[in-house]
């Protein structure tokens, strides 16, 4: 079996204009393995996988699947050869049901749809078999991100595949959902399927993979068995140098109170209560973390602070001024930076250039504008500077931000928000899609901001991120703040219990 690889990618090249996304990449996947793909943002992971599943056509090179050279003109042809992919951005039509999404594009265009019952039955059967909990008649837009992901995976299974490609599936999942997904991958392999898994989270990769390949600058630079490596080594392979997992911290005492939230209550867009009487202070020179399983009010808390959701009661004070209920533009202008959870919705305008995105909040202020006219030269220089400092992989500052890889979009948002020299920085999911090298850099930047006296509130579902840079960690559960702990890894159990809503210390046995 190992003489003849299941899938062989041979010397593939792909360019987008001046950008080389694949630079003669070769890779072999064996039947029945979980093969993880690592690499910095923009290394070319998504593009490579898109070529395997027929979304993008390679310029040069060969793909050999089950011993046959294949060349797909569309994802449908790839599916016919039993290769399926779950994309970083979902391919589900929001106003259709699960079942309708599954039969989209199947059979003759003029076919009358009269076999919906059979389709529903098959979906239920598959859903039961893999414990995916997918209802065939649910409308996509009513489902949570985690549910939509299961719908995507089941879609690929529904079409029948032997090779499943998952592109950063865990980036948007809660830890519980992630556990569930990882064990599903195991089940699929037991059923004879092969899985390619892309992730930036080394611990997940170490947990599930058989082999791991690392990509850099459009090439696979290493392939290793999981037993012969560790997270530190993988990080070095990716970035080309040692990545510090622990960052040095100066023990400065925090200063005056910058942000103060008093008894804040607000409701989610659904009208249900989401934040319940939350009070917290963030001081200058302090990073306060908020831990918690996602869906416990963190999203609403951050939106309400940024003025994107109405506050029902309570007060938000910034530098002693009441900013409760101000509109987002006014809050932004009061020395408040926001790195949002959903960058496409609240962070950037995808179709606009990097330059335009960097001055989104300040295009009408000096030095970016004078006498009502944009000063394009200054804007361009400023953007180029940020691109360089934050190593945002892009063609130039005039490229549309939507053409960047996900992690690079995030880097630009972080760069922009820090460059505004705010007194207070609100961060929700700093790491979303960022590779570990960039992560280290961004965390260092955060610490620098802290040391220069900024107040930072960091909301995260990643405990590692919180332990690495926070001065204290609050736990949010059911819209309430349950605890206030130091970032002490020895108190991990306590933190875990708080995240599950248990405030009582369990009685010691014996």
């Amino acid at each position: 079996m190992s003489q003849k690889p299941f899938l062989r990618i041979d010397n593939i090249r792909k360019r987008f204009g001046p950008i080389i996304a694949s630079d003669g990449v070769s890779l072999e996947i064996e039947e029945g393995e979980i093969h993880s793909l690592l690499g910095e943002n923009g290394a070319g992971k998504s593009v490579l996988m898109s070529m395997i599943c027929g979304m993008v056509r390679p310029d040069e090179g060969e793909i050999v699947f089950k011993g046959q050279s294949v060349r797909f003109n569309s994802p449908r042809e790839a599916i016919r050869q039993r290769i399926g992919m779950v994309h970083q951005h979902f391919m589900l039509v929001p106003n259709l049901t699960v079942a309708e999404n599954y039969i989209l594009g199947q059979g003759s265009a003029l076919r009358v749809i009269n076999d919906m019952d059979k389709v529903h039955a098959r979906i239920r059967e598959l859903s039961d078999r893999y414990a995916l909990d997918v209802r065939p008649d649910a409308i996509i837009e009513d489902l949570s991100v985690g549910e939509q992901q299961r719908v995507e995976i089941l879609k690929v299974l529904f079409h029948g595949i032997d090779l499943l490609i998952l592109d950063e599936p865990t980036a948007v999942l809660t830890p519980q959902e992630t556990d569930r997904l990882l064990s599903l991958m195991g089940d699929l392999v037991k059923d004879g399927k092969t899985v390619v898994f892309i992730s930036h989270k080394l611990d997940e990769v170490m947990r599930v993979s058989n082999r791991i390949s690392v990509m850099r600058d459009g090439r696979v630079v290493h392939t290793v068995n999981v037993g012969e490596t560790n997270a530190r080594e993988l990080a070095r392979m990716m970035v080309g140098r040692d990545v510090r997992m622990e960052l040095p911290r100066s023990p400065e005492p925090p200063g005056r109170i910058v942000l103060s939230v008093e008894n804040m209550t607000c409701r989610a867009e659904t009208g249900l209560p989401a934040v319940r009487r939350v009070s917290l202070d963030v001081r200058a020179g302090e990073i306060v973390g908020i831990a918690g399983v996602s869906g416990n009010g963190q999203t609403e808390l951050s939106l309400a602070l940024a003025g994107l959701l109405p506050v029902d009661s309570g007060r938000v004070m910034l530098n002693g001024k009441d900013i409760t209920g101000l509109d987002p533009a006014r809050i932004n202008a009061s020395s408040f930076s926001h790195i949002p959870e959903d960058r496409h919705k609240h962070g950037i305008v995808v179709s606009m250039s990097l330059s335009e995105n960097t001055v989104l909040q300040r295009y009408d202020q000096k030095p970016f504008a004078s006498r009502g006219m944009l000063n394009r030269r200054v804007i361009g220089e400023h953007t180029r500077d940020l691109i360089k400092r934050f190593r945002v992989k892009s063609r130039d500052e005039n490229q549309a931000i939507g053409a960047l890889s996900g992690g690079n979009q995030q880097k630009l948002v972080v760069a922009r928000e820090l460059a505004r020299n705010p007194d207070f920085i609100l961060v929700n999911q700093l790491a979303r899609g960022i590779d570990i090298g960039a992560m280290e850099f961004v965390m260092e930047e955060m610490l620098k901001q802290r040391d220069s006296g900024r107040a930072i509130l960091l909301i995260s579902t990643e405990l590692e991120e919180l332990f690495a840079i926070c001065d204290r960690i609050l736990v949010m559960f059911h819209g309430e703040i349950l605890g206030d702990l130091p970032p002490d890894r020895t108190r991990l159990d306590e933190l875990g219990l708080l995240m599950a809503g248990q405030t009582e210390q369990p009685a010691l046995a014996g």
Binding site: M55, V56, S74, P75, R76, E77, I79, H87, M91, L92, V93, P94, N95, L96, E100, N101, I103, L104, G105, Q106, G107, S108, A109, L110, R111, V112, I113, N114
Partner: protein, 310 residues
Amino acid sequence: MDDMMFLTFLATLVGAAWRLATPLIFASIGEVFSERAGVLNIGLEGTMLVGAFCGFAAAFATGSVPLGLLAGIAGGMLFGLVFAVFTITIKADQIVVGAALNLLGMGLTAFLFRTYYVSTGKGIEIAQPVLIPFLSDIPFLGEAFFRQNLIVYSTVLVAVLASLVLFRTSFGLTLRAVGEHPKAVDVAGRNVAAYRYGAVMVGTGLAGLGGAFLTLGHSNQFVEGITSGRGFIVLAVVVFARWSPIGAFFVSLLFGLFYALQLMLQAQASIIVPYQVLQALPYIMTIITLVVLRGKGAAPSKLGQPYEMR
């Protein structure tokens, strides 16, 4: 007015409403297809005019109403093809192209009509009412529903058929997806542009048919600007109907009722409202509809946006 007179009035009103709604029904069901696929065609006024003119010209030459209707559909689709090439293939702005086509349709039909037909002054044979046996003799109801021409009856068929196609066939499912998430359709292996072309063709074909009805089933003449804004009212009908063919049928009927009311009240000597106010009724209703239903969900999310293939 005594009761009998009132019932007669009502029966005539409903009958007239359906007739007057017919061009709206065709065109709005067509536009539902177009918009469901993400293409906002505001060039319907021009398209309907072209349909009305082609229908008239063909019937004038051949003396046949069916041929006239076919010519109306063909004329509409030809116009739609121009719209599709510009908006789908060249990806020009749909609003700009639509507006240009309205102007083109008005100018072109006026020019051709003046050049070739206006001096003849002759009308054409139009579709005659077909009395449905027995049913047409029912008092009041017969007058309202069963003394129409075949084109008017066919609106029911078109509405039901359109609904079945849109919600019960693979084509319809894909079409609806194209307006919401074209990339997903692309990934599923269907050609987004082809579906948009198809949707625009269905839409403009039906608009052409609606226009042709004006000359072949209603008046027996072409008149410059005979559509008198119906192409714009259709856009409001589609919003009001929540992008559903059956909805479009009933909302069109409602607008037909305004038209009919306006005509019949004008004929009532006892009404003192200035007739201009009555004439404005359908248009006022259009504006109210659009204001009241402004921004209320349900619109295809990619409406008006071109799709970049990979």
